[in-house]
């Protein structure tokens, strides 16, 4: 299955291009000289120790964080201070957070239709139909009228995925989507993500889920101290890590 998935990534222009990007928090150099091209339909898993800058990196891609040097081009649009461009890119880039961040004052259905109605200007009825389609896909259509607070963590995260999908994004970013979940709920979220992968979504996933990386990723990136230290196919990455920091990290998470 692995081979077939790798082959279906087309070779045309990259959807994300990051060239020589640096970022500081005050004096703290959090991202150093990042170079990364993401092809359409490519799936990348990013791992690395806590504090190595993984979240910051993917948050720079939809400008939740601002980079200070280098260039980031998403779907042909360069990220600058131009607010209109930023909003345009954000509409095309879905993001799933560690803590779900659903809107607690809106029902599940309203959570899903908010973006399409106000950003994409889709008529309400159509937005609701799309929402129900994606809710069914992540298998919680029956919860549409409930509020986020009434759902389990796993259900909330699946709603969060559906909420992003309703915007029909070209890229999906995931920031440790399963690490705030109880163990028995991890699988249901990963299954939803795997299904998404099989449909050819471009995905950047910060995660330490080995099994997930093995089954869907084309590439695994390892970050440490704000740098991309190593990148490789999942098989090579896990069985034959090159860098000693990668080896140390893998020995820690695989105990």
């Amino acid at each position: 299955m692995n081979e077939t998935l790798i082959q279906d990534a087309p070779e045309d222009s990259p959807i994300i291009q990051i060239v020589g990007m640096h970022k500081w928090f005050g004096d703290f150099h959090v991202l150093r000289d990042i170079h990364l091209n993401v092809k359409r339909q490519e799936r990348i898993v990013i791992c690395g120790p806590s504090g190595s800058g993984k979240s910051t990196l993917i948050r720079c891609i939809n400008r939740l964080e601002e980079h200070q040097r280098g260039d980031i081009v998403v779907d042909g649009i360069e990220l600058t201070n131009n607010i209109k461009n930023i909003e345009k890119i954000r509409a095309e880039v879905g993001m799933v957070f560690q803590h779900f961040n659903l809107f607690p004052h809106l029902s599940i259905l309203e959570n899903l239709t908010l973006g399409p109605i106000w950003v994409r200007k889709v008529p309400k009825k159509e937005a609701e139909e799309t929402a129900m389609y994606y809710l069914e896909k992540v298998q919680i259509a029956e919860q549409a009228e409930k509020y986020p607070g009434q759902l389990s963590g796993g259900q909330q995260q699946r709603v969060a995925i559906a909420r992003s999908l309703c915007m029909k994004p070209k890229v999906m970013l995931f920031d440790e989507p399963t690490s705030a979940l109880d163990p028995e709920m991890v699988k249901e979220v990963l299954d939803a993500m795997i299904e998404l992968a099989e449909e050819g979504m471009t995905m950047l996933v910060v995660s330490h889920e080995m099994g997930f990386a093995r089954s869907v990723a084309h590439r695994v990136l390892f970050m440490d101290f704000g740098q991309i230290v190593e990148e490789n196919t999942p098989e090579e990455f896990f069985h034959n890590p090159q860098h000693e920091r990668t080896q140390l990290f893998l020995s820690q998470i695989l105990h």
Partner: protein, 365 residues
Amino acid sequence: MAVHPISDADAIKPPKTQTGVVGWMRQNLFNGVFNSILTVVILYILWKTVPPLIRWFFIDAVWTTASEACYAADGACWSVIYNNIRFILFGLYPHDLQWRPLAAIVLLIALLVYSRDRRRWRRSLLWTWLAGLFVMGLLMKGGLFGLENVDSTLWSGLPLTLLLSVFGMVAAYPLGVMLALGRRSRMPAIKSLCVVYIEMIRGVPLISLLFMSSVMFPLFLPEGLTINKILRAQIAIIMFTAAYIAEVVRGGLQAISRGQYEAAESLGLGFPQKMRLVILPQALKIVIPPTVGILVSAFKDTSLVVIIALYDLLKTTQSVLSNPKWMGFSSEAYIFIALIYFICCFSMSDYSRKLERELGAGERR
């Protein structure tokens, strides 16, 4: 490894705590020596005070007599209300036109009651209110459709109090929200402007604002241009209330996690939409209780306009009491207007509780 059998869930019930009236009394009134003594003392005090009060309020009271009968009676003289009700409520407004402020008040109450139901909060309600306000203004002022013109210097009593407070609240609330947003703005100019405004207003009492608006402000206006006195007081009340609302709303905004902002932004929502659809609905809901607290005190504070010689409800009552015929009956008169204030303020708190319940209904169980 042992497998524990799961016991029949229905078989075990929580222990009974309520065992009739005696049980309730024992639990709530006589649990322990100290509480028993307290209960007895309080019962004694009630027995000593309540019956005389009831006698004064109702049994010995006179209701519809002339003032002479009041001096003879042992109880309350409600006649002071009965004989002066029109002046207390409508003050200087021309006597034979007083149906107009009455109609305006009825219309206002009807609109308020109608708007209680959240399902009616549609855009059309906004138009209904605008139309309603126009009709109310027309009723008060006249000058159109054959209604006789009544100068606004004659507006007084309850309509004036309601006018100042309802407009004050309705205008101060959005202004306060804007100030709160401004205070959190990343743009230094806007931010400092809002901080200075809020802190300056909160640093002075409403009375001095009212004085400034009525005495000092006209000095700055060019010759010949005057701004209506009621309007000036109204602006002072709005500015004052807005500053307090701003601080409360700011507290609510701080309670919203960064994740909510980021989720809204990552959908591509712009600033106004993010605020209107995601952040403010949550923040404003959190601060309903303190907001209503501020609105209630703003309502009561409108009575301070007496010091700039506006005839609000309190002032019309005082004028009645300065009439030698009714001089001794201030308790009755003040109890009456206290009742009016109470009804208004209580409705506000009651409504806020209802709103809080409804808005919280589906969320977080």
